[in-house]
Amino acid sequence: MSQNPLRLLLDFDDRIQRDRDQPSAFLHRRDRRFALDCEQQGITPDASHWLAHMDRLSGPGGTVTAGSRELRLWYRVNGGFVAAGCLIGILTMLGLLFYDGGQRINITVILAFVLFQLLLALATTVQALVGWQPWRWLLKRLHRDHASPTRARLQPLLMARAAHAGGVAFGLAGLATLLVMVVVQDLAFGWSTTLDTAASGYHSLVNTLATPWSWLWPAAVPSLELVEATRFFRAASGTPGIDPSRWGQWWPFVVMLWLTWTVIPRVLLLILSQGLLRHRAARLLARHPGMQALLYRMETATLDTGSSHNDAADLPDTRTRSRPDLLPDTPIMICWAGAGEPELPQRLQAPDTRIFRAGGRATLAQDDEVLAQVGDQLAGQKAPAVIVVTRSWEPPTGELHDFLEAALERWPSGARVTLLPLASDPNRPPETHLVQPWLRFTERLAPGFASVALPPTGEPDPYLAGSVQP
């Protein structure tokens, strides 16, 4: 993975954009796992490792990253600017040095042009720093304007870099053209201005401009005599008394002027914009919201609450075909597992009612005894029937099932059991949802053996009548 911060940022930004629709739990697991692997290998996890890890896992074939694609586009943009810079540089220099043999090439015009170039270079840098994008139309043409906020913040600097690259190419092409022209033509430079300027003033100006190279190439610093000698005026077609070779002595100054004040500032600003770009990319990466989220995911443990098991659809069949039956007229009543304690309501008891207690605190031996006693009572009866009183809120269990199965075997054939689930207030009817399991319980017993009845309240229970499903 490249350490180029710009590519890293672009790749990272692209990866985060692609992660947007992933569930956060998945992202957390994935990145935490990566951080734990890094810890095991003694590596400090960072963005470049993370991206390399992601690419490695996705396998070969994904070598063209988003960063590479974006950078390639910018290489093309830079290339276009460089090519245009070269062409314009040659044409501009040819224009500046246009000389038909009769007129002089005005040094003042060249000075003004160099100043204009310098201002242009500075303006490019300032607009990039401020974030103004006069080149946006070009990006729109290239269909790259729908960039993420991160990319949008890089665009001014990228455009400035391209502009500076074009500027350097412009300067170098101009310089080369100048040198070629010096070789192939006899150029006559002079200086001229409408302003009332003395030669000494002009000399001090060019001297100041030549300060940077005066120690390096003294011949490229025009002397006062040369300045005085090469002034020309608009009306004069030539200046008599001057050695013609003096007109050409300006060229070292022009070369150094162009190199020092057009080419070098552009090169320096290009280096600066490249540095700024790297710095801003590194800063944007560090402050990227995706980076903060990634660091959080890597640092925080993943929590799995064991919620993967799903049996929500695996519900028991709760359809009930049975209906509550009428309470049989029988004196035998078994209170199951403490039902009817401390006392059964009076209206459930007749003077001859015999109450037995089984289940709950009673032992299994006591249950057996109750079965035997009730069996004896039922023997010889025409329609043997038993009421088993239960607590409606305690659902039927295997124990009651066993008890009734044993009763079926041991009691006279034809004996019927009616379950009577009581509410916690025995004078009120039990709640419908509590009666339903009892109805289903009797369905699971031998057909015709058991049924459910509701305690007599004097009025029919409107809920039960409606709740029985076909």
């Binding site: 929500a312 269990t397 295997g398």
Partner: protein, 476 residues
């Protein structure tokens, strides 16, 4: 390294064992029904941190034949010292025996070393029938805790408490459906107190769960912020050929675009809802989506909804003042402060006045037909020009978040969202109000929020969540 504690949730049939497990394991996909025998086999629900188990909850079926089991145990035991061994022998001997399937399933994890969490229903009277079960559990010799889970309305927890106290080391009340999150944590800590070795993993678990909850709140605010940005800046566009322009009247075009815009906004709101539900591991609420209605069928765009969730003119004016002042501050900056803050004041006043006068009008987006370009015309609808719309969405989103974050995973009832009145936002601090209003203003103008602005909006929404939380608390 010690092994992670295991807790077997046991009890009589139909007393809410699965509900307790569903709530503590944050799983809304556990079968829960008012039918004994819904849980047929034991099921493990481990809590893992980075793949390392901290504890496991085991859901088990209820006791079916406790007296018979106790009788067997008593017949095979000589003294109290052999009780645990006898229970183990029972499980070994009765594996595969149809009569004791449930007992074996529930006793197996206990004889393997699990702690006992015995669940009873505190809304029904104490029943001595449970004594056989409790005695068997005592025979296992494992650390035990009893939970009084109230399924119904009545409260018999006092009698249960004294009875359970005779059998279990710790007795706690815990309403699986309604208990707030803090109670989950306190219950987990209570599990840790059953044995010294269990304290550390349970402490860690509660710490992680707490952090997770905190993070979920932040993530929810982030989701709401993005949804608000989307909803406020959404524009419905349609490109028409000249023929289409000639055939379609402006009214019908406006209607089509408006309908599509409405539909998109409703769908986006639904997506936000589902995202937040999934964040809190509520996967199944979506299945009830058809039944999920805002109370009294309050639609996102109904006047009623607006009445309930929109903010007052005064609120808008103060929020607008703050947001406007920021624009005005630019004037001060340009004059290098020589305007002595007049810019901020003027900007603030303009913002406040604008919000005050236009705040209560429903300024829905208007149809906009662009100029002819390359033989095509573009018609657009949106974005919404009414910041009240943003407050309606925000109010509904925070309300929904609150219900989801307070909903236990044992809850199986429909999610009903009753509308609140708007007073809750009045408790929001000034900075948050300003941030929200500023974000709305930017979205209205379709200017994307920067990372920092989105982060600020998220923080402001988190503050709004706290304000809503407080308001709910005080209202209750």
């Amino acid at each position: 390294m010690t092994t992670a504690p295991v807790f077997a949730v046991v009890g009589h049939p139909n007393k809410g064992k699965s509900s307790v497990v569903a709530t503590l394991s944050q799983n809304d996909a556990i079968a829960i029904a008012l039918e004994p025998g819904t849980t047929r086999a034991r099921q493990d629900y481990p809590l893992t941190v980075d793949g390392q188990k901290l504890y496991t909850l085991v859901d088990t079926p209820g006791f079916q034949r406790p007296r018979r089991v106790l009788q067997w145990l008593e017949a095979h035991s000589i003294s109290a010292s052999d009780h645990p061994e006898t229970v183990r022998a029972f499980v070994l001997q009765h594996r595969g025996d149809e009569r004791f399937v449930d007992e074996c399933e529930l006793l197996a994890p206990i004889v393997e070393g699990a702690g006992i969490i015995y669940v009873v229903d505190g809304s029904v009277p104490y029943s001595a029938e449970h004594e056989a079960e409790m005695t068997i559990l005592r025979w296992t010799g494992r650390p035990s805790l009893a939970l009084i889970n109230s399924i119904g309305e009545d409260d018999y927890s006092d009698t249960w408490q004294s009875a359970l106290g005779q059998f279990f080391q710790v007795v706690r009340k815990f309403d699986a459906v309604r208990a707030p999150f803090e109670q989950h944590l306190s219950l987990l800590r209570a599990f840790g107190q059953l044995e010294p070795d269990w304290e550390e993993p349970l402490e860690r678990a509660t710490r992680f769960l707490s952090e997770q909850r905190h993070q979920r709140r932040h993530q929810s605010a982030g989701l709401i912020a993005i949804a608000l940005e989307d909803l406020m800046s959404y524009q419905e566009k349609r490109t028409l050929t000249l023929n289409q322009v000639a055939e379609t009247s402006d009214t019908s075009l406006a209607e089509t675009l408006r309908d599509r815009w409405y539909r998109h906004q409703r769908k986006r709101e639904q997506t936000l809802r589902i995202d937040i539900e999934h964040l809190y591991q509520h996967q199944r609420i979506r299945r009830q989506e058809a039944e999920l209605q805002w109370h009294s069928q309050h639609d996102l765009f109904s006047e009623d909804t607006r009445k309930h969730w929109a903010v007052s003119k005064r609120y808008l004016a103060t929020a607008g003042f703050g947001a406007g002042a920021v624009g005005g501050a630019g004037i001060d900056a340009m004059t290098l402060g020589s305007s002595l803050g007049t810019g901020a004041l003027v900007g603030g006043l303009i913002g406040a006045a604008g919000s005050y006068f236009y705040g209560d009008r429903l300024l829905l987006p208007a149809l906009n037909i662009g100029p002819l370009k390359d033989g095509l015309k573009t018609a657009s609808f949106g974005p919404v020009q009414d910041s009240q719309f943003g407050y309606v969405v925000l109010g509904r989103a925070v309300d929904h978040w609150w219900h989801i974050s307070h909903r236990n995973h044992a809850g199986r009832d429909l999610l009903e969202l009753e509308p609140a009145d708007h007073h809750w936002l009045e408790q929001l601090d000034k900075t948050s109000r300003r941030e929200i209003q500023r974000a709305f203003d930017r979205c209205r103008k379709q200017r994307p929020l920067t990372h920092q602005q989105r982060e600020n909006l998220t923080t402001a929404i988190e503050q709004a969540m706290s304000a809503y939380d407080d308001w709910r608390l005080n209202r209750a």
